[in-house]
């Protein structure tokens, strides 16, 4: 009986916290991709709770009913080999659940790997996010600016983050906009996101990358398109241009605050060409194979500095 109460109490605590006043980051989406994921998560939590409760109920029932202290001393448990029907049900029901979840999973996977729902027609903002020990560099090739450790984004427009790394594998993650994706040294991965409304968000590297990993975070500011344009203009008016020398200095291992530059490092230190993980990059992936040699040689020159 103790067990039962403990488990009930546990389930209620979890449920209370999950649906509590202070919503958990992942379950408090601010963009369509995170919404898809949060819906999937909640749905699976409910289905899984059903399974857990069923198993708990059967367990408690048999434990109470068939414990030795309740049986007569001469009770001899029967020999039961198994029963086709019962076992078919035990296989069939999980299969149905798994099929249902598989369909959900595949559908959502294609959704999060494409331009966010409701934003299809619009021109995406392309931002190159590259990590170095233990910083994030954001390059806006179209706007011609570069920031370190913070990223400003226009709300209500699709975002295309192009991810790569100047060192260990990192993982670019803004929980409230959507799930993470790896940034690696030899290829560019693409993460499709969008913010529904202006607001301040947390972003971080989620993949362990060495001593400075814990502080490897960045600030995300979603703002209206007009504010964003204003900010871009302001940067062009006030910030200094990024030079190769300056950029190599930024790449040195350590922690830095926020900083802003005009121009991007892509001009002198381009992203690896092998382009991966974008729904529309299928055509150029063949090409990427052939480009490989050249991209590697370029990368090597980048690395000789650091």
């Amino acid at each position: 009986m103790k067990l039962k109460w403990a488990l009930l109490a546990m389930i209620f605590t979890v449920a209370a916290v999950l649906s509590g006043c202070e919503p958990l980051l992942v379950l408090d989406p601010k963009g369509p991709q995170a919404k898809v994921q949060a819906d999937d998560i909640m749905l699976s939590i409910w289905i899984m709770s059903g399974i857990v409760i069923a198993v708990f109920a059967i367990l408690v029932f048999v434990l109470v009913k068939y414990r030795a202290s309740k049986q007569s001393a001469d009770y001899e448990p029967p020999h039961i080999e198994g029963n086709m029907l019962v076992e078919a049900i035990c296989i069939g029901v999980p299969i149905i659940i798994v099929i249902f979840l598989s369909v959900m999973s595949v559908k959502s996977n294609y959704e999060v790997e494409a331009t966010p729902k409701g934003y299809e027609g619009q021109e995406p903002v392309v931002i190159y996010a590259s990590s170095s020990n233990w910083k994030w560099h954001f390059s806006y090739p179209e706007e011609g600016i570069e920031t370190v450790n913070y990223v400003n984004i226009p709300a209500g427009r699709p975002l295309e983050f192009k991810l790569y790394s100047y060192g260990p594998i990192t993982s670019f993650w803004i929980p409230q906009l959507g799930g993470q994706k790896y940034a690696m040294a030899d290829m560019v991965t693409t993460l499709h996101l969008a913010a529904d409304e202006p607001g301040e968000l947390m972003g971080r590297n989620a993949n362990f990358s060495g001593a400075g990993f814990a502080e490897n975070t960045f600030d995300v500011q979603a703002m209206s398109q007009t504010d964003f344009d204003k900010w871009v203009k302001e940067v062009h008016d006030t910030a200094k241009p990024i030079t190769e020398e300056k950029f190599n200095e930024l790449l040195q291992p350590g922690h830095l605050g926020r900083s802003t530059y005009t121009g991007t490092h892509l001009e002198f230190s381009p992203a690896p060409e092998h382009n991966h993980g974008s729904a529309d990059s299928d055509k150029d992936s063949e090409e990427g194979e052939h480009h490989h040699e050249s991209s590697d040689s370029e990368k090597e020159t980048d690395h000789s500095h650091h």
């Binding site: 290829m187 991966h276 993980g277 992936s285």
Partner: protein, 93 residues
């Protein structure tokens, strides 16, 4: 002297040389990737099977069920690993 060269093994050796020659066609003839790789897959796996049965006597004891299951399981896992990795790293990248 003749008993030292059983016909089964001599034929097996001759056949494996022929298979090698067939596989060499992909080098000497100009053919598409698909055709070439198909020839290689076929010749390589037949040769492997040949070695297994003719030379290694895989099926000669009462354990042949276990031995063949072991080899098949190994091949299955090997193929899944190879093609799964190719799926991740090349075909769906």
């Amino acid at each position: 002297m003749k008993e030292l060269f059983p016909i089964k093994q001599v034929m097996g050796f001759a056949f494996s040389l022929i298979l090698t020659a067939v596989a060499l066609l992909v080098y000497f003839l100009d053919m598409s990737f698909t055709a070439g790789i198909t020839i290689l897959l076929v010749t390589a796996f037949i040769q492997a099977g040949l070695q297994l049965v003719v030379f290694m006597h895989a099926g000669e004891t009462e354990d042949k069920g276990a031995i063949y299951s072991n080899v098949y399981f190994g091949i299955l896992v090997a193929l899944v690993t190879i093609f799964g990795t190719l799926l991740i790293f090349v075909w769906d990248m």
